[in-house]
């Protein structure tokens, strides 16, 4: 699965994207955040704040209880600031 990071989250992970093989017990976005947090402590720190890290699966906004099954690309980003 490809995981992508946007805006200042890239500075927290040190990369814009990475390819990962996930352990079988990583089922939801919340699980994935926990898994990624072990690799990137500063990402974990950001994700612990309420509403600070948002997620999309295959380019659709999702909440943290969303299931990862079948996902090709998961993205993490701060609240959007366009317009």
């Amino acid at each position: 699965m490809r995981v992508r990071y946007f805006a200042w989250l890239k500075q927290r992970t040190g990369c814009a994207e990475e390819e990962l093989d996930l352990p079988a017990d990583v089922l939801t976005v919340a699980d994935l955040i926990g898994h990624l947090g072990a690799r990137h402590p500063r990402f974990a720190e950001a994700a612990a704040g309420r509403g600070v890290v948002r997620c999309a699966i295959d380019q659709q906004h999702v909440e943290r209880d969303a299931l990862l099954a079948g996902a090709r690309e998961v993205a993490f980003f701060p609240p959007v600031t366009g317009g």
């Binding site: 805006a7 999309a56 380019q59 906004h61 980003f77 609240p79 959007v80 600031t81 366009g82 317009g83």
Partner: protein
């Protein structure tokens, strides 16, 4: 219709093209968002908009299609730029066309409110203190929430 582009656009030319050859449209509402040279009391010399190519277009299309289900629109155009831009330059344009003004005004406001909270863009400002990412505003969430049905 959705356009995501790095280049500048001309608001007047876009409105002219939007209504060219149409005699059924009675009202066009437009919103143009511009880069400001100040934010939270600090000077902003330039701004870079990062986005999520692919999701940006998909999300804008979802927002446009939601507007079309809520109001009787004859047409709709959203242009959003990405990349580096200078104060005074346009960032975003929303045009809505309808037979009457209420639908055009409301749909235009709705499109901007939803775009501001859903379209995956992030602003990086250049200030004398260095670069800083713009933080989302709670008032934008409140503005978007008024359209929840």
């Amino acid at each position: 219709m959705i356009r995501v582009q790095a280049g500048l656009f001309d608001v007047g030319a876009e409105i002219a093209r939007f209504t060219a050859g149409r005699t059924d449209i009675g009202a066009v509402a437009s919103f143009t968002g511009l880069v400001r040279d100040r934010h939270n009391g600090e000077t902003v010399s330039a701004m870079t908009l990062e986005h999520y190519p692919g999701m940006t277009e998909a999300e804008l299309e979802r927002i446009e299609s939601e507007a079309r289900t809520r109001w009787p629109l004859d047409d709709c155009l959203v242009i959003h730029r990405y990349g580096r831009m200078l104060p005074g330059e346009p960032i975003v344009l929303v045009l809505t066309a309808s037979a009457h003004r209420a639908a055009a005004f409301e749909a235009c406001a709705f499109l901007m409110d939803w775009l501001k909270t859903k379209a995956p863009f992030w602003k990086l400002e250049e200030t004398p203190e260095g670069e800083r990412w713009v933080e989302a505003r709670g008032s934008d969430d409140e503005a978007a929430a008024r359209w929840e049905s």
